[in-house]
């Protein structure tokens, strides 16, 4: 990377705001918590920005820290197989407005999964991470990730409307 391409936190926000927000939203129980998590992650980045040598590092760091902060936020809830959605999710669209969850049937179904299943599904489907990469990011064994993927898919079959089921 040339010196002109200096990595700054603000530039990181411009590049990865959507990625972090989507991941945060997939992990938190509502948009308020997702907003808090989003902000915390980028504020933390300021202290570590000099340690990150490339935008790929920044991206990996952001995913890792978002996951860790979400885990920390949920604390004891993290490992419980409970339905997190305490209130109907409202997600921001591109224009800054909000859409009803009915317009996102698969996302809504994914949101009903336990957080650890949501995480592997989001990373595997949307971020296109491999099982090995997910294992590294979540600090789990690959077999555990595979098992979580399998269970998540099984649960999704019962949650997703028929038209998306094959």
């Amino acid at each position: 990377m040339s010196k002109e391409e200096r990595i700054t936190a603000e530039e990181a926000i411009d590049r990865y705001a959507d990625m972090v927000y989507r991941l945060a939203l997939s992990q938190m129980k509502n948009t308020t918590d997702a907003d808090d998590l989003f902000q915390e992650v980028f504020v933390r980045l300021v202290s570590h920005i000099q340690e990150l040598e490339s935008w790929e590092h920044v991206k990996a760091w952001l995913i890792r820290v978002t996951i860790n902060c979400a885990k920390k936020h949920f604390g004891q809830y993290w490992n419980k197989n409970v339905d997190f959605m305490e209130e109907p999710e409202r997600v921001a669209d591109e224009s800054g407005g909000y859409e009803l969850p009915e317009e996102h049937p698969v996302r809504t179904a994914v949101q009903k999964l336990p957080p650890k299943y949501r995480l592997v599904i989001h990373l595997y489907y949307f971020e296109e991470k491999t099982v090995a990469e997910i294992a590294r990011l979540t600090e789990q064994k690959e077999t555990t990730v595979k098992s979580q993927m399998h269970r998540a898919r099984e649960m999704l079959k019962g949650l997703i409307p028929e038209q998306y089921d094959g």
Partner: protein, 342 residues
């Protein structure tokens, strides 16, 4: 078996595509991005200030080392007093010796001449005695060996410093001052007349004993300790913990009190709540403390950006010892403030 796999793959692909389509429609709200950029700029400023503070702290730690050196030097100074006493005794002994020489050599020299010789020789002896002090006591004390006058000068500012720190007068301090005066007197006598120095030396030795004892006693009394941490709201009322948690939104200032000396600086640290977060501990503020102060009132602005729960603790660097406070649980919820509904 093969059909099952195909079904699973089809389902997976279908769900994946739909999930990606739906998720791609989600974007971080512009207002959140704007707010986060503001927070990032504030954090950058805070870090810049912190780095500037750390530079100051490094300078202060230089001063801290100097303070520690002074504390260490005090021990030397008492020992230097002992060296001064040794000088006095040696000079006294040499005075007696040369007094006898003077009396036995009446045939070849007048009393005045003898006194001159004795005086000159005494000066040599005094120098030698100092050298002995350096070589003997100096081995224990390093290279610091001063004359009695220097020792007195060192003790005197130490006493003045004790007063400046507004400690309650302790008997040991008074004894140390009187002993210092006695040493001073003994030193004067040494230069005035050699014949009287034996008595002066004895007295100095006795006084030095008192000084040594008082030095040990007074160092035992002055144990640096943190005596209190209080959080205050904007109306200067004490903010109490609710179920062991303090709401940082209420806290406007923090009062920290201590005893047993003056810390070089006070540092405030914050560790995010949760497990295995120790490595995420961050330094929020470093405040240098003027000599003699026994408390400091700090602005609590740095607590007002706390996103989630965290633990706060304070460190007081007394130069030779760092005193750490207990941890205070804090969270930030401005909805409890009276004007939050506006």
């Amino acid at each position: 078996m093969s059909d099952n796999r195909t079904d699973r793959q089809t389902f997976d692909r279908s769900v994946r595509e739909q999930y990606n389509r739906e998720t791609a429609q989600v974007h971080a709200p512009a207002e959140l991005i704007h707010r986060t950029k503001d927070a990032v700029r504030r954090e950058e400023q805070r870090i810049a200030q912190e780095q500037a503070g750390q530079k100051m702290s490094e300078q202060q730690s230089g001063s801290s080392r100097a303070k520690a050196g002074r504390a260490y030097g005090r021990l030397h100074r008492w020992a230097l007093g002992t060296a001064a006493a040794a000088v006095v005794l040696l000079v006294g002994a040499s005075g007696l010796f040369f007094g006898r020489v003077g009396r036995s050599s009446e045939k070849s020299a007048s009393d005045t001449a003898v006194q001159e010789i004795a005086s000159d020789t005494a000066a040599v002896e005094e120098t030698e005695a100092e050298t002995v002090g350096e070589g003997g006591l100096g081995k224990q004390l390093g290279t610091a060996a001063n004359t009695a006058d220097d020792a007195v000068e060192e003790i005197a500012p130490a006493s003045a410093k004790e007063e400046k720190r507004k400690y309650e007068p302790r008997p040991q301090t008074v004894a140390a001052e009187s002993a210092a005066a006695a040493i001073s007197g003994a030193a004067d006598e040494t230069t005035d007349g050699m014949m009287d120095t034996t008595a002066a030396g004895d007295r100095t030795e006795a006084d030095l004993g008192a000084v040594k004892e008082s030095a040990v006693d007074s160092s035992a009394d002055a144990v640096p300790a943190l005596t209190g941490v209080q959080f205050y709201d904007k109306d200067k009322n004490v903010v109490e913990a609710e179920a062991l948690w303090y709401n940082a939104a209420r806290i406007e200032s923090i009062l920290i009190q201590w005893e047993g000396g003056t810390p070089v600086d006070v540092k405030i640290f914050r560790t995010p709540a949760g497990s295995e977060t120790a490595e995420q501990t961050e330094l929020l503020m470093t405040k240098s403390i003027p000599d003699g102060d026994t408390s400091v009132l700090l602005d609590a602005d740095m607590l007002h950006d706390a996103g989630m729960g965290s633990h706060l603790f304070f460190e007081l660097d007394f130069g030779t010892q760092v005193v750490k406070s207990e941890e205070y649980n804090i969270f930030y919820d401005e909805s409890v403030l009276p004007d939050a509904g506006d």
